[in-house]
Symmetry: C2
Subunit: 417 residues, 2 copies
């Protein structure tokens, strides 16, 4: 049979013959199925049997958030599967285990994560996850380093790049929704009423529009490594001790800085949303400090881990040891590392800036802000994030790793209080 | 039948049934065939019939320069064919017309260029081609702009990128021979006896080795457009009025600056070789000035043509008119253009520098230097080119378009006279 979307009613009959499921959770006769997808694109089922639970994720031939007026290829499940396999190999234990993949049905059966919650919901509630920065700094360094020409041969890299080039429909969404739509009155945009006085000057800022397009240029053309492609706080499931990276269906070859910048932006969105969630002013001050600490620590851990991989696993075609360590010039390798890390940081800031904008002005918003029910409280939160994004993107070449927390605290203190 | 290399004896029988040939040059019974390949990789036949001549180019399953110990995939003919088709569409009339392509036989039948000569031979003889810079500046701008995200959609670009990713075996040659081998005692290297005092400090220069690997990183990862990939003075056939770009079998997605820098380097190689070819000192002064004029003019023409295309044909996904001209901000588009051109120039200088080195220290040398039969005269020519390459690569971020001619004239005047 060809592709057909699953329903809770049809799922047991259609998947009940798969040993990958029945071995784990028992026979289909005992299954209970609940559809729980709350993302923008897919069906997600929790299947509970007598022996346990699994997740069944199936792509829909259109964007769930918009409806069947916006078709989207089913092959994104193929790219999600291939990204999950690569992530599992590059940072073992940081992504859910895949039990079964069906390309025609655009369907992945994977581990049910429990007692994990979506990171974004924790941030809205003000719940700390002290190990998050460690987990994510390492995941970013490992997945990005090990997927690049620093670790791979040109042949392996270009063959894999060719495979992921076919995921251009998802990249097209990023290219339009992240880098362009927020900066003009695009049809799919929406924003909080009352935010207009902050939007007009943003869209009038020539340097910002140029910066956003430079980041789009970088996203399109700087094919350094396999990126997750959608690493926001909704793509992470966490417990006090664990962090799991899910939903890499936007995976494509792109710049080192992309996932880093997207993740950093989502920490800042959480930061700026806090004043909309605190009962009394200052009640979330401690949580704000925690978030800024996570922001700083993610980058510190990334730098440390990337540097360690640079020194121990640099077996790809770039910056060969033959020319540095093996020629008695380890310092040359360190100098090159410094320059590469600087480039990643500058790109990450550029992506961080545009992500802040598109989550407030574009199609896909974030619960951090949306959960602030009173627009009068939401507007200043969003205004601060917009201005932070503007400065971070435009001044990305000048900002050091320690500058951003000072910047955002000053914006929190001064804008629209 | 499977692939079999042609010989002058077998060619008429094997290709005599092709209307693409017989319609042009008459029946195979009247053909005369000469093998004239003097390149590094392929068989090239001139086939003369009663009605005219054509070129038949066939890939060999190994590198001709080295022998069958170094196998090389036949599919490079496929990429050459596809690059020729794209170049013909992007800058009509600047590449030889293709009459027939046979993928299995790795064979392209194309126009016989007459009375064209290989540009490099003209440079050795001191023959001027006053229109060369115009032709090449326009070719570079048109082929690179029209093959990029400035002109194409993300879908078209990524699908084409996937196709050319499969040309990784040729890219691997560039990655090793251009960016790495010259900077250590690699097995395939060779150099002029007596040059050693200039090589040791070059290979000891940490900043240069880092710069060379940064350019390798850029070549691998900055997939901005379809590049020719091997645009040296042996890939151009010229007359007083015409220039034809041939041999794009190294075509792959790479940075805008790659072809530009390779071509500029080959002008400088010609420049530094002149003192080895002049009968009396200064006899080629006028020709040296002509070459520096061409160097300057290629970039000027490139900037002018790229700018015109930017203003008139910017229909791709990058720097959309919606965000600039259509929003009343043409100046924003000009600002973005300036930054893009600056990036191309800096990259071009980096590639120019390493090309100067690899043509003197690596496997594949150039006739400009090799034709200087007396090593005592060749060494200073090569020493100057090495130093020029070092400064250009390391200082690429600081050198303006007008600086290079002053630099090379000073090196010509001061080194090893």
């Amino acid at each position: 049979m060809g592709y057909a979307a699953l329903t809770p009613d049809t799922l047991p009959a259609r998947l009940g013959g798969l040993a990958a499921l029945t071995d784990r959770i028992g026979p289909a006769s005992g299954w209970q199925v609940a559809e729980v997808g709350d993302g923008n694109l897919n069906l997600v089922f929790i299947v509970t049997g007598e022996g346990g639970r699994v997740i069944v994720k199936q792509a829909l031939p259109y964007i769930r958030l918009v409806g069947d007026s916006w078709p989207l290829p089913l092959n994104r499940a193929f790219f999600e599967y291939h990204a999950l396999v690569r992530h599992a190999a590059r940072d073992p234990g940081r992504v859910p285990e895949v039990f079964h993949f069906d390309e025609e049905q655009a369907l992945i059966v994977m581990r049910y994560l429990t007692p994990h919650v979506i990171l974004r919901k924790s941030v809205v509630r003000g719940v700390e996850h002290p190990h998050l920065a460690q987990h994510m700094g390492r995941f970013l360094a490992r997945s990005l380093f090990r997927g690049s020409g620093l670790a791979l041969s040109g042949k392996v890299l270009r063959e894999d790049m060719a495979l992921f080039c076919a995921n251009h429909a998802l990249a097209d969404i990023t290219e339009n929704l992240v880098f362009s739509d927020p900066y003009f009155a695009a049809k799919l945009n929406r924003h909080t009423p009352g935010l207009e006085p902050f939007i007009a000057p943003l869209r009038a800022d020539r340097a910002l529009r140029v910066a956003a397009q430079e980041m789009k240029h970088t996203f399109l053309a700087q094919a350094e490594t396999l990126v997750h492609g959608d690493l926001h706080a909704g793509s992470l499931m966490v417990t006090p001790d664990d962090s799991q990276v899910i939903d890499p269906e936007f995976a494509i070859y792109g710049p080192f800085g992309f996932d880093v910048g997207m993740f950093l932006a989502n920490i800042l969105l959480g930061y700026f949303a806090q004043s909309g969630h605190e009962g009394t002013r200052g009640a979330r001050d401690g949580y704000r400090q925690y978030l800024l600490g996570q922001f700083t620590e993610v980058w510190q851990v990334f730098v440390a881990e990337f540097g360690q991989l640079w020194r121990s696993e640099r077996t790809g075609l770039l910056y060969e040891r033959t020319l540095f360590e093996d020629a008695g010039d380890a310092a040359g390798a360190e100098a090159a590392l410094t320059a590469v890390l600087r480039g990643i940081w500058v790109d990450a800031l550029g992506f961080c800036g545009v992500e802040l904008h598109r989550r407030i002005l574009g199609l896909a918003h974030v619960e951090d802000m949306e959960a602030i029910t009173d627009p009068a409280r939401r507007v200043p939160c969003e205004a601060r994030a917009l201005e932070a994004g503007r400065i971070i993107a435009v001044m990305r070449g000048s900002l050091g790793a320690g500058d951003v927390p000072f910047l955002v605290q000053e914006l929190e203190r001064t804008i629209a209080r």
